[in-house]
C-alpha cells in the first residue's frame, strides 16, 4: 500500500481535494463541511511534504495520466520548485482552514458555510493543479478552477461589507481577461509547435528559433500572468478583493494565489521559453524590471496612507510582489533564488498578518487603524504577532523578511545594479513607515473610550502564531528554505539557455 500511494502521489495531490470538494456542499451536519475541508487539506499537505522530500535530492517525478506518455498525454511533473510551491499552498491551506472556523463563522452566513468550504477546497485544488501539472493547457484549466472559486469566496465577504461584491466582480473581469490573454498566448505557441507539454514545448521552441508568432505568444502570456499575479500596474483588482474578502480568504489568497501565478510565470519564462531568443530577456529588462521597481515603491508608498489595515496589507503585497519580480528580472541564479525564497517568506509573513487583521475584525469589530488605537494592551498576543510580521515586512534581522532582502540585495550587487539596491532599500524603509504607523497606534496611543476588546480565541491565535513562528524560525535558521530555493533556482536556470550566472 505505501508503495501504491508513493507511486500515485502527484495525482492524489489534486484528486483528493477535487473529490472532497463537492461533498462539502452535501454535508448538513453542523461544522461538517469545515471538518471535511480541514481533513482534506491535512491530507494534501501530507502529500506535498512527501513530494517535497522525494524531490529534494533533485529527482523529477513524472506521472502520466491515463497511461499516455507525454507529449501526447497529460503529464504531472514534480521537481524541487513545484514541490516547494505545493508545500506552501497546502500548508497555508491547513492553517487558514484551522483559522477559518472561528473567523468564517463570524464573517459568512451559516447557511452558506457548505458552499463556502466547497469553493475553498476547489480553490485549493486549482492552485495545486496549476502547480503540479506539466501540461500548458492544464495550467489554464486549473488556473480558472481556482480563480472561479476565488471570485466566489471573495464575494462571500458581502455579509460584512457589500463592497466585497464589486471587488469580486472587478477581480472576475480582470482575472478573466488575464486568463484569456494567457490562452491566446498558448494558442500561438501551439501554432508554432503543435504540442502543449511544457518540456516538449521548450524543446521545440528552441529548435524553432525566433519568429513574430513566438514573440506575440510571449507577450500575451506575460501580460496574462501579469494580471493574475497583480504585477504593477495590473494590480487594480487586488486591494479591494483582499480588503473585503473574509479574513481567512485574504490570508489564504495573499499567501497562495499570487504566489502560484508567479510560479507559473517562472515556469513559462525559464522552462518553456528559456530565453532562447534575446527578445525575451530584453522585454524582461525593459518592461518587467522597471514595472517591478515602480511597483515595489508605489505599492509601499500607497500603503503608508491607508487607514484600513487590510488595505494597507494589500498594497504592501503589491510592493512585495514587485520585489519578487525584481529578483526574477535579474535573470541570474542568485536573483531567482532570492525571488523564490521571498515567495515563501512573504507567504508566511502575509498570512500571519492577515490573520491578525481578521482577529481584529472579529474581536474589535474594525480594521481601521484609527479605531484600533491601544489595541496592543487588550489583545497582546494578536498584536505581538503583528509586530513579528511587520518586522519581517521591513526586513529586520531574525525574521524571514531579512533573509529575502539579504539575498535580493546580494543578487543585485552581484550584477552591479546599484540603483536596484537603492530601490529595494527605499521600499523597505517605506515599509518601516507603514508598519510603524500601526504599531505606534496599537501600543503608544490610548484606546478610544468605551470599547471592549478581548483576545482572539485559540483557534485563531494558534495558526496565526504558527505563521509568525515560522517567520521567526526561518529567519533565524534559513538553511532549509534557502537550500530548497537554491536548488529550485538551479533547476530553472539549468532548463533555460541563460548566459548570466
Amino acid at each position: 500500500m505505501p508503495q501504491f500511494i508513493a507511486q500515485h502521489l502527484p495525482i492524489l495531490q489534486v484528486i483528493v481535494p477535487l473529490i472532497a470538494a463537492p461533498f462539502c456542499a452535501l454535508i448538513s451536519v453542523r461544522n461538517g463541511a469545515w471538518w471535511l475541508a480541514f481533513v482534506t487539506s491535512l491530507v494534501t499537505f501530507a502529500i506535498s511534504v512527501l513530494l517535497f522530500a522525494a524531490t529534494f535530492d533533485g529527482e523529477i517525478i513524472s506521472y502520466h495520466l491515463g497511461g499516455w506518455a507525454p507529449p501526447i498525454g497529460i503529464e504531472y511533473r514534480v521537481d524541487m520548485l513545484n514541490a516547494f510551491v505545493l508545500t506552501i499552498v497546502s500548508g497555508t491551506g491547513v492553517l487558514t482552514l484551522l483559522y477559518a472556523r472561528a473567523s468564517v463563522a463570524h464573517e459568512v452566513d451559516a447557511k452558506q458555510h457548505g458552499l463556502f468550504y466547497t469553493a475553498f477546497v476547489l480553490c485549493l485544488t486549482g492552485l495545486l493543479g496549476v502547480t503540479i501539472t506539466g501540461d500548458a493547457f492544464n495550467v489554464f484549466v486549473f488556473l480558472e478552477i481556482s480563480s472561479l472559486a476565488t471570485y466566489a469566496i471573495v464575494a462571500s465577504g458581502a455579509k460584512t461589507d457589500r463592497r466585497a461584491l464589486t471587488a469580486a466582480y472587478n477581480y472576475l473581469i480582470m482575472g478573466t481577461i488575464g486568463a484569456t490573454f494567457f490562452v491566446i498566448g498558448l494558442g500561438l505557441l501551439y501554432m508554432i509547435t503543435g504540442t502543449l507539454n511544457m518540456a516538449d514545448l521548450a524543446q521545440r521552441l528552441l529548435e524553432h528559433g525566433d519568429s513574430r508568432t513566438l514573440r506575440m505568444g510571449y507577450a500575451f502570456i506575460l501580460v496574462g500572468l501579469g494580471l493574475k499575479l497583480a504585477m504593477f500596474p495590473l494590480h487594480q483588482w487586488l486591494p479591494n478583493a483582499y480588503t473585503y474578502a473574509p479574513s481567512a480568504v485574504s490570508a489564504f489568497l495573499s499567501a497562495t494565489a499570487t504566489k502560484v501565478a508567479i510560479y507559473v510565470l517562472l515556469r513559462f519564462l525559464f522552462s518553456v521559453f528559456g530565453f532562447s531568443i534575446p527578445f525575451e530577456a530584453d522585454i524582461l529588462f525593459l518592461v518587467v524590471l522597471p514595472l517591478a521597481l515602480a511597483g515595489s515603491l508605489i505599492g509601499a508608498y500607497i500603503a503608508t496612507y491607508q487607514d484600513n489595515l487590510k488595505r494597507l496589507l494589500a498594497y504592501s503585497s503589491i510592493s512585495q510582489i514587485g520585489a519578487m519580480l525584481i529578483g526574477v528580472s535579474m535573470l541570474s541564479a542568485s536573483g531567482l533564488m532570492a525571488a523564490i525564497i521571498h515567495l515563501f517568506n512573504h507567504a508566511v509573513t502575509k498570512a500571519s498578518l492577515y490573520m491578525v487583521a481578521g482577529a481584529y475584525a472579529k474581536e474589535a469589530g474594525t480594521v481601521s487603524i484609527r479605531e484600533l488605537r491601544g489595541v496592543g494592551r487588550d489583545m497582546p498576543f494578536t498584536t505581538a504577532a503583528f509586530v513579528v510580521g511587520g518586522m519581517s515586512l521591513i526586513g529586520i534581522p531574525l525574521t524571514v523578511g531579512f533573509i529575502s532582502k539579504w539575498y535580493l540585495v546580494e543578487a543585485a550587487l552581484m550584477r552591479g545594479w546599484w540603483p536596484v539596491v537603492i530601490v529595494i532599500v527605499v521600499s523597505s524603509l517605506i515599509a518601516l513607515i507603514y508598519v510603524g504607523k500601526f504599531i505606534e497606534a496599537a501600543y503608544m496611543h490610548p484606546a478610544p473610550q468605551g470599547i471592549i476588546r478581548r483576545e482572539a480565541p485559540l483557534t485563531m491565535l494558534i495558526p496565526m502564531w504558527i505563521f509568525a513562528g515560522l517567520s521567526l524560525f526561518f529567519g533565524i535558521n534559513s538553511s532549509l528554505t534557502s537550500e530548497a530555493a537554491a536548488r529550485a533556482a538551479q533547476g530553472l536556470v539549468a532548463a533555460s539557455s541563460l548566459i548570466w550566472q
Binding site: 493547457f137 489554464f140 484549466v141 480558472e144 472561479l148 471570485y151 466566489a152 464575494a155 458581502a158 457589500r162 463592497r163 461584491l165 464589486t166 469580486a168 466582480y169 472576475l172 473581469i173 478573466t176 481577461i177 486568463a179 484569456t180 490562452v183 491566446i184 494558442g187 501551439y190 501554432m191 502543449l196 487607514d307 484600513n308 481601521s368 484609527r370 479605531e371
Partner: protein
C-alpha cells in the same frame, strides 16, 4: 499590392478574430453597465474560441472521425477539444459574473459602474469622518 491582398485574404480568419477581440475588449473596458461588460467579455472570449478552431482547420479536411480510409485528410481535433474546455470555463465565468451582477443590483440598487463608484466613494468618505 497583390501580395498585400493575398496576405489579407489568406489570413482573413485571423483578421476576424482580431476584430472580434478588439470589439470585446473595448466593450469590457468602455461600458459602465456591468451586464454590458459581461457581454463584452463574452465576445472577447468567443474570439479566442474562433482563433483556436480556425487554427485546427486543415484545408479540405473533414471531421476527425475514423472512416477506414487511411488517406482521409481531417482537421486537427485537439484545438477543438481544448476549446470545448475553454467554453465550459467561459460559461462558468459568465454565470458567476451574472450572479454577482444580480447580487450587486440587490445590494446597491444599480449596476451602473459610475453610480457604484459614487456610492463607494461616499462610503469611504463617511468612514474617514468617524
Amino acid at each position: 499590392m497583390d501580395d498585400l491582398i493575398t496576405q489579407i485574404t489568406a489570413h482573413y480568419n485571423y483578421w476576424m478574430v482580431i476584430i472580434l477581440m478588439m470589439i470585446g475588449l473595448y466593450i469590457t473596458i468602455s461600458r459602465g453597465n456591468l451586464i454590458k461588460k459581461i457581454v463584452g467579455l463574452n465576445i472577447f472570449q468567443t474570439s479566442v474560441f474562433m482563433f483556436y478552431i480556425s487554427m485546427g482547420k486543415v484545408t479540405g479536411g473533414t471531421a476527425p472521425i475514423l472512416t477506414g480510409n487511411p488517406d482521409e485528410v481531417y482537421s486537427n481535433p485537439l484545438p477543438h477539444v481544448l476549446i470545448l474546455t475553454a467554453i465550459v470555463v467561459g460559461i462558468a465565468t459568465t454565470s458567476l459574473a451574472l450572479a454577482l451582477a444580480v447580487r450587486i443590483r440587490e445590494a446597491y440598487g444599480t449596476i451602473e459602474e459610475d453610480e457604484l463608484l459614487t456610492i463607494e466613494r461616499d462610503a469611504e468618505a463617511a468612514e474617514d469622518k468617524i
